[in-house]
């Protein structure tokens, strides 16, 4: 499926009451399904037909919600456990992939996968957050939350790519950089700051895709791309909605309100020039047809790599500079001495 430019990717979002209504009905239907299943096991009654009917209703509701989700529903879709993972995207994008490990200093961070492979017969590097497919893998991969050594490994592989004149593809899907004791001891701030600086000046093209959760600095640390793409049910935010709610209202359960306030959807980010292109997801969301989602991402990455490859390196770096230099909304009201109103 083809990606569309961000300015044609959808109607400007009116906060939708219908999505909330569908959500309530879905909760209700899910509860009924659970009740029927309990009855089936407890009393040995065959309710298979009723359960199947309700499940198809639930699927229809989920699809309807995914067609036009509220910000909070988008957050939940972005975190859906069955969304494609970094390994799926790499498989859909590259041949002869070889994973490269370790920061050469402390250890290998399994929360961040890095390596080399061919994209359309040309070498490329890939760096991506790795969430697990199940609880066991999630624990092993620290739920995709890197430690400092993860960012140091990422930067090391990017330097390898630069040496090879190979482009870098980064895939973002993380709740954030890991807020742990050892992470602080090993300089989480320094690692992220260094990664940002490294990407800012990297002399090779970078394409970034936000595929799921774009969790703050831990996401941006591998996100300083020349082209930034985003799946349309992914989110990208300065703070998690729950964290925001905990700070604002001292109530981490008010995530839905915070999600709306934070404007963290692909549409918002495209409007601000943070995201260059929104990649539409298959009906129902990326988790319902993972291979279609992977193919859409691979197509978008290939197209942007081809466009970036034709640009002289100095132009590329100048454009990267301008892209990030411009982000933000502010005005110049002039020095206080000069009186009022000199708007820029």
């Amino acid at each position: 499926m083809a990606a569309v430019p961000s300015d044609r990717a959808g109607m400007p979002g009116a906060a939708n009451a219908s999505a909330e209504r569908l959500e309530r009905e879905l909760t209700q239907v899910e509860r009924e399904i659970a009740d029927l299943k309990r009855i089936t096991t407890a009393r040995g009654v065959d309710l298979e037909r009723q359960i199947t009917a309700l499940e198809s209703r639930a699927d229809a509701l989920r699809e309807a919600i995914a067609a036009d989700p509220s910000p909070w529903q988008t957050v939940r879709l972005a975190r859906h456990p069955d969304r494609p993972k970094v390994g799926d995207y790499i498989a859909g994008l590259m041949t002869d992939f070889i994973e490269l490990h370790g920061d050469r200093t402390f250890r290998d961070d399994p929360a961040l996968v890095t390596g080399l492979g061919f994209i359309d017969a040309r070498p490329a590097a890939v760096v991506g957050h790795a969430k697990g497919r199940d609880t066991r893998e999630n624990i092993a991969r620290n739920f995709g939350m890197p430690n400092p050594e993860g960012y140091r490994k990422a930067l090391r592989i990017m330097a390898v790519a630069e040496k090879l004149h190979a482009p870098v593809v980064t895939l973002i899907d993380t709740p954030g950089a890991y807020p742990g004791k050892e992470a602080e001891e090993r300089g989480q701030s320094e690692a992220i700051a260094r990664a940002l600086l490294g990407m800012a000046g990297l002399r090779t093209p970078i394409v970034t895709v936000i595929t799921g959760e774009g969790g703050s600095g831990g996401a941006l640390a591998i996100g300083v791309g020349d082209a930034v793409l985003m799946l349309d049910k992914a989110v990208y935010s300065v703070i998690s909605p729950e964290g925001c709610a905990a700070i604002l209202w001292r109530d981490g359960t008010r995530g839905a309100e915070a999600a709306r306030a934070l404007r963290l959807t692909a549409r918002d980010l495209a409007e601000w020039g943070i995201v260059d292109e929104i990649i539409p997801e298959p009906a129902g969301g990326a988790h319902s047809h993972p291979d279609l989602a992977v193919a859409a991402v691979a197509e978008g990455v290939r197209r942007h790599l081809a466009a970036l490859a034709s640009r002289p390196l100095d132009d590329l770096l100048a454009a990267r500079y301008q892209k990030y230099r411009r982000i933000g909304r502010l005005q110049d009201v002039g020095a206080p001495q000069s009186g009022e109103g000199r708007m820029a």
């Binding site: 742990g180 703050s216 600095g217 990030y324 230099r325 933000g328 909304r329 009201v333």
Partner: protein
């Protein structure tokens, strides 16, 4: 000695120093439980200190050495040569792209912070000299929405880096911030990238960036320009880290040790070049600027006001 000069001065030449004087005249720092603002209670050792005595000691507790937080203007007055500072970009103010409302609308919060601090935003930037060496200088104001970085802080840091590149003189930034400004959403997050491209270019031109971490430096500011310095120093006892203490304790389900995320902790873990007590800060910066080849100048930098436009 410079501690005699700035903090007690009541007249400095040139209008560019007005914010400093405003700060000195306004008694905003008074602690609540002490009468008439003549005395300040040290938050660490609880000693009552005569305010003038504390100011004379650069707001360092003479009993326990606690470094009280400094406002941006007080910080600049303390380290810069008297009358050398020319402020830039003081007219930059934020917009409200998210139309963010929590208990108050974001613009109301900004106005309140401006009224309380007398500053337009959470950082003051400009050009000045330290012991006769020119530097582009920025000082953050923690009292302005927790020193949070939104579009304006990002822009002023980026412009400072560009100015330092143009003038070929070192950049010195005093960080004091809780992190990115939530009310500007992902736009504030991306300021980390904005300052990174500007500081990356500065570095590629071979111009030094001296970063001084003050209490506190955390979150998106720590994870961007504060730790992108060629030389990174901190004040004694400053809280420095990526994640907040409470978040870490909830994540790992254990109490963090005393002294975790202090400047001394970071020094021990090899993350800082030096911890510099406040009374040594000005001479240390002066020496580093000489070592970094900062241009010597006896007069204020010859940058005409309208040349600013060509830099932006």
């Amino acid at each position: 000695m410079y501690n005699r000069r700035h903090l007690e001065t009541t007249a400095a030449p040139g209008s560019e120093f007005r914010p400093v004087l405003n700060w000195i005249r306004s008694p905003k720092q008074g602690s609540s439980d002490v009468p008439a603002g003549l005395w300040t209670k040290c938050p660490r050792c609880a000693t009552l200190i005569y305010r003038k005595e504390l100011d004379r000691n650069l707001r360092v507790c003479s009993r326990c050495g606690y470094h009280h937080r400094l406002s941006a203007t007080d910080r600049l007055a303390m380290v810069l040569d008297e009358g050398s500072f020319r402020e830039h970009d003081e007219g930059l103010v934020p917009e409200d792209p998210l139309e963010f409302v929590d208990e108050q609308p974001y613009p109301t919060r900004v106005e309140e912070a401006q009224r309380r601090t007398g500053l337009p935003e959470a950082i003051v930037t400009g050009v000045g000299t330290i012991e006769g060496r020119r530097a582009v200088v920025g000082a953050m104001e923690f009292g302005f929405l927790g020193g949070s970085m939104g579009a304006v802080v990002g822009e002023k840091v980026a412009r400072s880096a560009e100015r330092a590149a143009e003038l070929r003189c070192p950049l010195v930034v005093f960080a004091a911030s809780g992190g990115a400004r939530m009310q500007e959403g992902a736009l504030s997050l991306l300021q980390m990238a904005k300052v990174s491209v500007a500081l990356g270019r500065l570095g590629s031109l071979g111009v030094m960036f001296l970063s001084v971490l003050c209490d506190p430096t955390t979150g998106g500011v720590a994870a961007s320009f504060a730790f992108q310095g060629d030389i990174i120093m901190a004040e004694p006892g400053a809280l420095i880290g990526f994640a907040g203490r409470r978040v870490i304790e909830q994540t790992i389900r254990q109490k963090l040790p005393e002294g975790f995320q202090t400047a001394e902790f970071l020094m021990e873990h090899g993350l800082l070049d030096a911890i510099v007590p406040r009374q040594d800060l000005r001479p240390t910066l002066g020496r580093l600027l000489r070592l970094c080849g900062a241009p010597a100048t006896a007069s204020p930098p010859p940058l005409p006001a309208d040349a600013q436009d060509s830099i932006a």
